[in-house]
């Protein structure tokens, strides 16, 4: 396959590299690169109806081309082209590992340098539009491309299979950075800006901690509503969590009890887990119609059973409305918790249960003395995930009660949503409330893990 030719050139050797890069490959790559640029540029030129071919020639083709090239689509197209090319080379080109990486990275380097050049020209030539403080395209140009360049340069020097590993996990980190990490930082930033009003999320200035001040000023309505919603959330979460964990533990210990040998376990598990599969919004709508007023299934049923004399308006009673929300949360999640518990219990060494059986432990003793202490980490996991899920509770109250009556079923997440995406679009207050909620969740999680942590000092003794 690989013909040795007189045109071959030596590249500086790396520690374990004995390969050379072929000039043919290099030329081919460059031709491909140029062709890719042309491919990407052509539709952009043709789509511009205002500039006819004659105009282009009169005004000089190159300035026009450059002008057209200074748009994001083109730059992104070039990145795409470069990536494609690198991929083609990696997959199809010559079999010598080091060489193909070198070529690929050389091309990516060239593309990257071009891109940064474009970015700088674009930034210099085209200042931000009036009133514009931030531009995603520019940010991407400035941050992403040098990062890609850096990665590819580093890539050459990673030895062994590690480089494949890094490459395969890279997409996750990129997606995470763009869609999770960046928004988190953006939320922190927004919380100290004056971002409010429709469409002004990006168009804002840093003005200080005014939004936080409102969240902690007892005379402010924002304070009242935020802490009220936090209280509601904790109440509704608590009334769901205690029964949820008890029920899950009970069912899990039954399902795993070797003496009970329950039949149709699979069927029961499916039935118990089922509510968790249905979308929360759907369940919210379902319960809203079940409990609505004055004509609705629950009201009709209770009246025909003689428990009620007239229709009862569930969603005008704080206790009933909160109770229904807690019930739904419990009903949706105890199956899930149970499955996790079963997994935890099955992970315990069976010889411990056998020993307990031999020693004549009752089922109750086995549960309290063996099962429970050994699934403590699982309990902690459940507690923390349930707490995070509970404090960010949104769909059920939003779909079912819309906070009624008098915002007593309003949750923090719903407060944030209503502040940020309705009325005056107070993005800054919504972000500040998100930050406070974030801090609260972190503190609660830390407290829980400290309480639940095994306090016995760890004995590290090598067993031989």
């Amino acid at each position: 396959m690989q013909k040795v030719s007189a045109n071959q050139q030596y590249v500086p050797k790396k520690a374990d590299s004995h390969e050379r890069i072929s000039v043919k490959t290099m030329i081919l790559s460059l031709v491909l690169l140029v062709m890719t640029y042309i491919c990407m540029a052509l539709p952009l030129i043709n789509s511009n109806k205002l500039v006819t071919m004659g105009d282009k020639l009169n005004a000089g083709l190159l300035p026009k081309l450059l002008e057209k090239a200074m748009n994001t689509e083109f730059v992104l197209a070039v990145v795409g082209g470069g990536m494609l090319l690198a991929a083609i080379l990696l997959i199809f080109d010559n079999p010598n590992k080091d060489k193909k990486y070198l070529v690929a990275s050389a091309i990516m380097n060239a593309a990257g340098i071009l891109l940064i050049l474009f970015a700088m020209i674009r930034l210099g030539a085209q200042p931000l539009a009036q009133g514009e403080k931030f531009n995603f395209a520019n940010a991407a140009l400035i941050i992403l491309f040098p990062a890609a360049l850096l990665y590819l340069n580093v890539f050459q020097y990673i030895k062994g299979y590690g480089k494949y590993g890094f490459t395969f996990v890279l997409p996750f980190f990129l997606v995470f950075a763009v869609f999770q990490l960046y928004p988190i930082f953006f939320t922190f930033r927004t919380s100290i800006t004056n971002a409010a009003g429709l469409g002004n999320a990006l168009n804002s200035e840093i003005t200080g901690f005014g939004s936080f001040a409102r969240l902690f000023n007892p005379d402010d309505i924002v304070f009242k509503e935020f802490w009220l919603s936090l209280g509601n959330t904790v109440i509704m979460w608590g009334f769901n969590f205690v029964p949820q964990i008890s029920m899950a533990l009970l069912l899990a210990s039954w399902f795993t009890d070797s003496r009970m040998r329950l039949k149709f376990q699979g069927g029961f598990k499916v039935l118990i887990f089922m509510p968790n599969i249905i979308t929360a919004a759907t369940i919210g709508m379902l319960f809203m119609s079940l409990f609505s007023y004055p004509i609705a299934p629950v009201n009709t049923l209770l009246q025909s059973m003689g428990l009620l004399h007239g229709p009862f308006e569930f969603f005008r009673s704080t206790a009933a409305a909160r109770g229904i929300v807690s019930f739904i949360q419990w009903w949706m999640w105890y199956g899930n918790t149970m499955i996790v518990m079963i997994a935890g219990i099955l992970g315990i060494n069976p010889s411990l249960f056998e020993a307990a059986l031999v020693d004549g432990c009752s089922s109750r003793q086995t549960f309290w003395k063996i099962t429970l202490p050994l699934i403590k980490p699982i309990l902690l996991y459940n507690l923390v995930t349930s707490l995070v899920g509970g404090l960010t509770m949104f769909d059920i109250p939003h779909m079912m009660t819309q906070g009624a009556p008098n915002n007593t079923t309003n949750t923090v997440a719903r407060f944030i949503y209503m502040q940020g995406f309705s009325g005056g679009y107070n993005y800054n207050i919504a972000s500040a409330a998100s930050v406070v909620l974030f801090v609260i969740i972190v503190i609660c999680s830390l407290i829980m893990s400290t309480i639940m942590k095994d306090r016995e000092p760890k004995k590290r003794r090598a067993i031989k």
Binding site: M35, S47, D93, I295, P311, N406
Partner: protein
Amino acid sequence: MKKILSLVLAVMMLVGMMSFAGAEEVITLNVWSFTNELEGMIEKYYAPSHPNVKINYVIYPTDGGEYTSKVDTVMASAANSEEAPDIFTLEAAFVKKYVNSDWTADLMALGFTEEELAPAIPVMRQIGTSNVNGQLKGLSWQATPGALMYRADLAEKYLGVTTPEEFQALVCDWDTFMETAAIVNEKSEGATKMVVGAGDIWNAYQYSREQGWVVDGKLVIDPVLYDYLDLTKVLEEDDLSNKGAAWTETWFNGMKTDSTLCFFLPTWGLHYTLKPNCGQGTSGDMNDEQLKATCEANGGTYGLWKMVPGPVGYSWGGTWIGANAAKVAEASDAKKAAIKEFIAFFTLSEDFLYAYAKDSGDFVGSNAVVEKILAEGGTPNPFLGGQDHYSIFAEAANLANGAIMTDYDEKMNSLWSDFVTTPYSKGEKDLDTCIADFKDQVKLAYPDLIVE
């Protein structure tokens, strides 16, 4: 071999890209909407007469605010990009938000003239006008005036009236309306109520106001709203309604059975809400004969309804067409003309609106076309026992005052209902507490609004 393969791939790509070139001068308009209603109209009426315009129709549903968040995002970050809409449709719930923003283009600057706009039904034009600078930003192909649908048989039984004119006299204003409600409740011994609930009345009652929710950056609680609260309190305490909210089981039940006498419904409500729900087992897929047969078989109210303008002229719902200001500013004259022609075709063209009204039965937004249809004898509707709904809607349409609509309405209406009407009428809180809570909630939602 592999090099050749990669070369071939690149060449294929090149050819693929080249094929985009060389298209002829066709103006492409991006149209964004939330249903396929306009798309169907484009295909049927617009496309045949406009071969030089290519419509790029994009639908985002309004569920969960998807449509508005898409529009907000693109308008805030890339309003002049190629993908951004040139034209977008706006629903009643959010039309004010957009016509009051800088995102929508001034239609007068696009070349509309007063003569052209003269036949547009005033309430729809008022709603499509910015409260900020008075520019006309949106126009509608339909008008959605509301009327009062009532059960003619029950009215005759309990009130002794046989014609719509006589019934209108019993609901000509809100005081008379409430007196009639009391009579209905008494005569029917509670079996039939005047309306389903206070929320039903609100859709019409809000048009009795003289001022919108916000005037010059200040919250305004129009004095007439206190009368509304008294009305809802009487309604609740004297048990004059079914105590249900709109779109609930109670509401639909009222359409099927004798439990409710009146519904405040607009044009679309007659065809798409009341009619498909007029009997047990009826649905929107049925035609008139099937509806009638189902009602006769299972029990229902087909043909028993009549309609009157009711206590106040009002409008409920509707769809407006607006243009993207950023794209209009950059557009060539030919494209501007195409955008103007698109909006004018759907909202003002008599030929189109007449053909569309004849085909669909929709109530169109041009008085000239409405008059033409009325002159031809209107639209006798078997569902209304042969009454002509067009003439009643035409009467109602020109009574409604769209100037009181603001972009705060959706939020304010829901706060007013949740924090004032409901707790006050149910006797949970006194009036002062309710109003104070309402003001607090308004401050919470709109920190910049002056609340006194």
